[in-house]
């Protein structure tokens, strides 16, 4: 489980996150929704340590991530996988080398064992046989899937996805959603997805946190989202044409 306790984040005089409290349960697809520019990505960056919160704590299964020593932070990070909005695949490495990367860095697997694990991960995302291709040679949807394969190469406990469907066609978008759902259930990980795609929310979401102007405006189950009684959330859902 990941818990956020009173997270504040400011850039200069501008306060982006204004005291966010939230809990993200293990084995569930937790969705963070909200309009662009309201602090979703900053919150995710604070959670994975790419930004340091101005105050507050991020707790990973009773470990206060924000107040750990650098070496301890690195240990926690080995349990984290992240799918970036632009995939962030290493463009000088092949698909196989990308997926193999963390295995090579953090395990003592033999090359054959690593190859088996890479093939397993690529099969999980339905991308077998593209091992020797470079990221520049594959499509956006394929890159996302390879990004997921890279994220799950180690036995991770937490998976973060920043706008996993951005720039994808509806069919590929749905495939990615289903993939994230099945991986979360199969590997019993805590998945947190930043999105403003309400289709994703209704298709695969378990719990939802709605961020508005840097605050946790509403949080609860997906099934309760339409009856939340929160005007801002209702307007957001209506604007997305999923009411």
């Amino acid at each position: 489980m990941i818990e956020l306790k009173d997270i504040h984040k400011s850039f200069g005089d501008v306060e982006i996150l204004k005291g966010i409290n939230a809990k993200f349960d293990t084995g569930k697809v937790n969705l963070v929704i909200g309009s662009s520019g309201h602090g979703k990505s900053v919150m995710m960056k604070c959670m994975v340590g790419l930004e340091t919160p101005t105050s507050g704590s991020v707790i990973y299964d009773k470990r206060d991530f924000t107040h750990l020593e650098y070496q301890q932070v690195r240990e926690v990070r080995k349990e984290i996988g992240m799918l970036f909005q632009g995939t962030a695949l290493f463009d000088s490495l092949t698909v196989e080398q990308n997926v193999e990367f963390t295995l090579k860095m953090f395990t003592n697997m033999t090359p054959a064992e690593r190859r088996d694990r890479v093939n397993f991960c690529l099969e999980q995302v339905d991308m077998p046989g593209i091992n020797q291709k470079f990221p520049s040679e594959i499509s956006g949807g394929m890159k996302k899937r390879v990004g997921i394969a890279r994220a799950i190469a180690l036995d991770i406990k937490y998976l973060f996805c920043d706008e996993p469907n951005s720039g994808l066609d509806p069919v590929t978008s749905r495939l990615i959603d289903e993939l994230l759902k099945s991986i979360t259930e199969e590997f019993k990980i805590t998945t947190i997805i930043n999105t403003h795609d309400m289709k994703t929310v209704f298709d695969i979401g378990d719990d939802v946190v709605f961020i508005y102007e840097g605050n946790n405006e509403w949080s609860g189950k997906v099934k309760d989202i339409k009856t939340s009684g929160n005007e801002i959330l209702t307007r957001f859902i209506e604007a997305s044409q999923f009411h």
Binding site: Q71, K78, A88, M105
Partner: protein
């Protein structure tokens, strides 16, 4: 006047701010490597990129540098009172003390430095460095340290090659133009050779290698924005490296000669 003072103060603070970040960047690289074998592999790859990749341009520059210096020294020393081997002596000493290390490294600042800066800068703006950090990898150590070690090994080698080829260029130009024979050139070069000069050239080469690799990596690593900023970082890396090389050139000459 107050406005100018204010501007100077801001520029000074900006310089110290940047220099502080540069020092922290270098300090941040030195943590226990996640896997030594990966770092060794990366260092060897970078040695190939820096050393073999720059060999052609270094060869061309060194040969022409020696040849042109020989012709110009000969032009300036037309006197029956000056023996011809003096030309060889001046060219070989100039090559060793100044031309080979400094000119070679200024060229390498352009070639190697801009490549390093744009490579790391592109990784920064496309979130690849963030991906490394999230994986628990010390990104500055993983990206920059192999480049710095490779530079510290290969750039002095390139400078030694450059010294050798400058003299070869000098001999060729002397022979081709009929100004002096190779025997006369070598006689002068041998007579004035001091092992300390070679040591001095190597000190310069190590210093410049450190400047080129660290300054370029730093500018790439601290890039923010998009493609335009990657280009700007690359330009800054070359300009700052060149200025730092020239400044340290003066400093080393003052301290060690």
């Amino acid at each position: 006047m107050k406005k100018i003072d204010g501007l100077i103060f801001t520029a000074e603070m900006n310089f110290f701010n940047q220099f502080g970040k540069y020092v922290l960047f270098i300090k941040g690289m030195f943590s226990k490597p996640e896997k030594l074998s990966v770092y060794v592999d990366r260092t060897i790859t970078e040695m190939n990129n820096i050393g073999i990749g720059s060999l052609a341009i270094v060869v061309i520059i060194a040969v022409f540098q020696g040849a042109v210096t020989t012709l110009q020294i000969a032009y300036q020393l037309i006197s029956p009172l000056i023996s011809k081997p003096v030309i060889g002596s001046i060219v070989s000493d100039s090559s060793m003390l100044e031309l080979a290390p400094t000119i070679t490294c200024l060229v390498l600042a352009g070639k190697v430095g801009s490549h390093m800066s744009s490579e790391i800068g592109t990784m920064r703006v496309s979130e690849q460095i963030d991906a490394l950090e999230v994986m628990g990898i010390n990104s500055s150590g993983y990206l920059a340290l192999p480049k710095i070690i490779a530079g510290l090994i290969m750039i002095p080698c390139l400078v030694i090659i450059s010294i050798f080829l400058s003299n070869a260029g000098g001999i060729l130009a002397g022979e081709a133009s009929g100004i002096l024979t190779s025997e006369e050139y070598l006689q002068g070069a041998r007579a004035s050779f001091l092992p300390y000069n070679l040591f001095f050239a190597l000190i310069k080469a190590f210093t410049y290698a450190f400047i080129i690799t660290t300054v370029s990596s730093f500018h790439g690593y601290t890039t923010r924005g998009g493609a335009l900023e990657v280009g700007a970082s690359s330009t800054k890396a070359v300009v700052y490296s060149a200025v730092a090389i020239l400044f340290s050139d003066y400093l080393l000459a003052q301290l060690l000669l």
